[in-house]
Amino acid sequence: MSTKVLMELSLLEAAHLTDLVEQFADLLAESGEADERTPAPDDPAILRLVPDAYRTDDDAAHEFRRLTQGDLLARRRDDAALVLGTLQRDGQALQPADIDRVDAETPLIVELDPASVSAWLRTLTSVRLVLATRLGITDDDAHDADDPRFGVYDWLGFRLEGLLQALED
């Protein structure tokens, strides 16, 4: 994993992914800084990113949360920022509204060093986990073909799979 990985996205894909990761970063920001008591997040989607580490020992689970939750959520923010940085074109964040029909299919080559690959893997995974919570995906067969959000969810999985495949090659 020492060499760089190249990912090719269309500009429209890159713009939508930018939008999605920005929404994820906003959600993390809303979850706020951990205070001293470090309560578990109210939002089940954020809670999924920092689950209880003990199933039957509430005190130990709370202590683990107190020690780790702030760092873990800070890392999600840092990863998201790194991913957004790699998706910029000419130093500008891509926005779906700015991409016209002609540009939509124009390829954007994203060059990822190992740290960026790691941030991409974790961020695509985290955004999928958040979407899954919002969509109520609780088993392997949960899939509502009529809900367009499943298309986004599947697309993220496709890109994640592609990135993992690129690491194997």
Partner: protein, 94 residues
Amino acid sequence: MTIPLEDIDLRLDAATAGPWQAVVWNDPVNLMSYVTHVFRTYFGYTRERAEQLMLAVHHVGHAVVAEGAREQMELHVQAMHDYGLWATVREGDA
């Protein structure tokens, strides 16, 4: 200040087996290839071992991915959470 988890080198063979376990639980979201990737990358397991563990998670619902001292299992579980996997610490069978 965030801890660079990738820099923490915890080899299983360097650990004395203890009564605590790090357990990874099945979830319907994480891709099988991703879970295998995490087990290989983080624990340094062979592809074969990583795939065995991944399949155990998928089919049995959970798998013990490491055993040893409690503090070390907590570090492993924190790392699994960092990858987006659902993991817990528990006391092993006596």
